[in-house]
């Protein structure tokens, strides 16, 4: 595959500890906790887990492009690729998201595997028409004569501590409403590689949102060889009996801490589920869990109204109504644009999730 991804450890300024998923069949995972600010050891701060994928099969019609992709990208995701694969495969485009996605669709229709980078998910909206009206509908409207299944769109996603309105957004809910595309969000490096490779191989246009705070905060020992993680399969990271916690991306790490807190302080056993694929989402795994526990908490940074927690909540109450012990809880961002200085008050942190669990248990 044509993409190389770098993930850095950041010792400083991280509000979360990063764990790894269950299921270690892909090799040992290294746990790295980043608890407090430490500006002292610079060698520890810059430690890259750099991996490139396997050599391409022939023909080499894999291309990656977007703004500033050629020099390595503003998050270093494409560093080294141009030298390795050539400037006709790794290239800059003009500054135009509707062009980037439109161009990617056309390249995919003509048979290339196109990996289009949008610099921040906040800037994906000019491409919304191309994604929703074109990419998602290409196969259906042509009667399967044409498709752009070879298109993958990648974009940095989610809050980062200081990103404010336009460098923090989580727009997955806008795209969840669009049949024909897939929306995927990894929680860490190992998941990112497997899920991204699945998106690239998938014969449907995929949007892959990469939690930007994890570019620097997460480190794992990632297998060098190619592997895929299936799409539309949620993963139970931790089994529990009293309440189901569902999230994706960065928020998984928050919920893992909350789960420990709940066990310790309330004696409550939490089942933590990483949804991973927002569309099409794994209804069965979530519902099965709620049937068992009777309580559901869904958490995401995006604003609560119309956020994806609403879709999960609605489906679960349809499927598991009589199993519910308490109303489904959504711990999400407020219905405001993402603020700058007020971020600590805005985000659905572990205390808000903890309080929500308490209320559900005592309902």
């Amino acid at each position: 595959m044509a993409a190389a991804v770098r993930f850095f450890i950041r010792g400083a300024n991280s509000r979360l500890s990063v764990g790894t998923g269950t299921g270690g069949s892909l090799g040992a995972a290294l746990l790295k906790l980043s608890p407090s600010c430490s500006s002292r050891s610079k060698t520890q701060r810059r430690h890259a887990a750099h991996f490139t994928y396997q050599p391409d099969p022939v023909p080499t019609q894999y291309v990656i492009f977007g703004e500033d992709v050629a020099f390595g990208g503003v998050f270093r995701c494409t560093v080294g690729l141009r030298d390795k694969y050539g400037k006709d495969r790794v290239f800059n485009t003009p500054l135009c998201e509707q062009g980037i996605v439109g161009f990617g669709i056309g390249a995919a229709v003509a048979g290339a595997t196109a990996i289009a980078e949008i610099q921040f998910a906040d800037y994906i909206f000019p491409a919304f028409d191309q994604i929703v009206n074109e990419a998602a509908k290409y196969r259906y409207r042509s009667g399967n004569l044409f498709d752009c299944g070879n298109l993958t769109i990648r974009a940095p996603w989610g809050c980062v501590g200081h990103g404010s309105l336009y460098h923090s957004q989580s727009p997955e809910a806008f795209f969840a409403h669009c049949p024909g595309i897939k929306v995927v969000i990894p929680r860490g490096p190992m998941q990112a590689k497997g899920l991204l490779l699945s998106c690239i191989a998938d014969r449907n246009p995929c949007i892959f949102f990469e939690p930007k705070i994890l570019y620097r905060a997460a480190v794992e020992q990632v297998p060098v060889e190619s592997y895929t993680i299936p799409l539309s399969e949620a993963e139970i990271l931790q089994e529990g009996s009293d309440v189901t916690l569902v999230a994706w991306g960065t928020q998984i790490h928050v919920l893992r801490e909350v789960s420990d807190m709940a066990q310790e302080k309330l004696g409550v056993s939490c089942e933590v589920i990483d949804l991973k694929t927002i569309l099409p989402w794994d209804v069965e795994t979530v519902c099965k869990s709620v049937v068992k526990t009777g309580r559901l908490l869904v958490s995401h940074e995006a604003p609560v109204t119309g956020g994806f927690a609403a879709e999960i909540s609605s489906t679960v109450q349809e499927e598991c109504f009589l199993n519910l012990e308490a109303p489904i809880s959504r711990v999400c961002g407020y219905d405001t644009p993402f603020p700058h200085i007020f971020e600590p008050f805005y985000i659905p942190d572990k205390w808000k999730c903890f309080e929500a669990i308490k209320r559900m248990i005592n309902y």
């Binding site: 020099f71 400037k87 495969r89 161009f103 229709v109 028409d129 409207r141």
Partner: protein
């Protein structure tokens, strides 16, 4: 472009002699500076910097200084000239420009244009009679379709807007399949999912049409880029109207195709109207051709009602686009004789006299007929018998399409993704259960069964 700064402080720390300092776009906080050494050999260089020259050194433009204040005047009174080969009566003006196509080829041009015209008349009527839901005619623009289609290779990809049925017809798309799409019957290659005239054909390299305007323009650039990399002598042509050229996607497509060096022909059908909006409300500059140079694109304006001019321009553009890997912009001036669609009555915004002028005095079909009759290639008898035969052929296809059932409603749920998903499978079962229970309220008999 990347700005490179040498930092000696870095040199000490890493023991390397060359470093780049970067700031991530938009995240200016100091702890996000990336200090990383990397080779810059692959990075494009600007012209060498030499402050001794009295010439602008800006990376953004290659130009001289000027010491008086003067705004460049856009030239709309005397715009880009219109290239033509025949006059309005079908006489060749400059013999060197006559493509000297064979009688067989020219007759084929004529028959394709008239067959299209006949099909348009019959299908427009069928919408009026409530047999199909919608239709768009191509009256007056047949020359743009046939002239450009003839200049391409069959393997060239076509991205269209919606008024290019003649391109598909020229390539050999059968009448039955045109009708099947308009009737959305079980023979439709598109499986009945789109409104009439949204044709597509993989075998003929004609990408399925979509309603949103200009979305095909950046897609055509991407397809051309992929075809360039394949190096199989294939080009892309992208059709759009002068109205669609106002969309942001048009700007995106032009810019991408030029910067990424794509073998692509942009073919703008400037037919005077975007539904009811005339060109003087669509743009203030000199049409679409004048925008090409702004993107660094070679551009030409042609008489779209002159099938040879369209042919010559497209042929040359195609040859050079593939040989030189650069896009070309052809603005074909023409006139939309018909209404925008069956949902439009253009007498609300233009005069009957204006329409009649183009229909009677400057029509691509009559021009070509004059050219043929002048050479003794086509007589009155030929015309009469061809009109009769083509109408009969169209009517037969029409009647076949009328009788055909609609596709199985199963096809409502397929091709959303390549694979069927559990959710859609459940919804499909739910739909059938519902229809089974309330079947007298659903037109089940008009559709193919399981």
């Amino acid at each position: 472009m990347a700005a490179v700064v040498v930092s000696s402080m870095m040199g000490k720390m890493y023991g390397l002699c060359f470093h780049a300092v970067r700031q991530t776009a938009g995240l200016k906080a100091p702890w996000l500076l990336h200090r990383r050494a990397f080779r810059i050999s692959a990075v494009h260089r600007q012209q060498p910097f030499d402050s001794s020259l009295e010439k602008p050194q800006f990376p953004g433009a290659s130009a001289d200084f000027v010491d008086h204040l003067e705004f460049i005047q856009p030239n709309v009174i005397s715009g880009i000239p219109v290239y033509r080969v025949m006059d309005r009566q079908g006489n060749i003006i400059n013999p060197s420009q006559d493509p000297q196509l064979s009688k067989e080829t020219v007759l084929n041009f004529y028959q394709k244009m008239t067959m299209l015209n006949t099909m348009d008349r019959i299908l427009y009527e069928s919408q009026r009679q409530g047999r199909i839901s919608f239709y768009m005619t191509n009256y007056g623009e047949e020359g743009t379709h046939i002239g450009s289609a003839a200049a391409l290779e069959p393997t060239d990809m076509v991205f269209g807007q919606y008024r290019e049925a003649g391109v598909l017809m020229y390539r050999g798309f059968p009448l039955d399949l045109f009708m099947a799409q308009c009737y959305a019957n079980a023979d439709d290659l598109g499986k009945g999912r789109q409104m009439p005239v949204h044709y597509g054909c993989k075998d003929l390299n004609f990408v399925t049409i979509s309603s949103p305007l200009a979305t095909q323009i950046p897609q055509a650039a991407g397809a051309a880029y992929a075809l360039k990399r394949e190096n199989l002598n294939r080009a892309v042509i992208c059709y759009f109207g002068e109205g669609a050229a106002s969309e942001g996607d048009a700007h995106a497509g032009f810019n991408f195709s030029a910067t990424l060096e794509c073998p692509l022909i942009f073919f703008c059908r400037n037919n005077g109207y975007a539904i009811s909006t005339p060109t003087n409300e669509q743009y203030r500059g000199d049409g679409i051709a004048a925008r090409g140079p702004g993107y660094g694109m070679l551009s030409i304006r042609v008489d779209g009602n002159d099938v040879f001019a369209v042919y010559n321009a497209t042929k040359e553009a195609r040859r050079r686009a593939v040989a030189e890997n650069q896009p070309f912009l052809i603005e074909a001036m023409t006139y939309r004789i018909g209404h925008h669609s069956t949902s439009d009555d253009s007498s609300a915004y233009r005069s009957v006299d204006e329409v009649n002028y183009w229909d009677k005095q400057d029509h691509p079909i009559s021009r070509l007929r004059h050219y043929m009759t002048a050479r003794g290639w086509w007589s009155e008898d030929d015309e009469r018998s061809w009109r009769k035969q083509s109408r009969k052929t169209v009517m037969e296809a029409f009647e076949r399409a009328e009788r055909r059932l609609k596709p199985n409603p199963e096809l409502l749920f397929t091709d959303v993704y390549q694979e069927m998903t559990p959710g859609l499978s459940r919804q499909r079962d739910s739909m059938w259960r519902h229809v089974q229970q309330y079947k007298e309220h659903y037109p089940v008999d008009q559709y193919e069964k399981q």
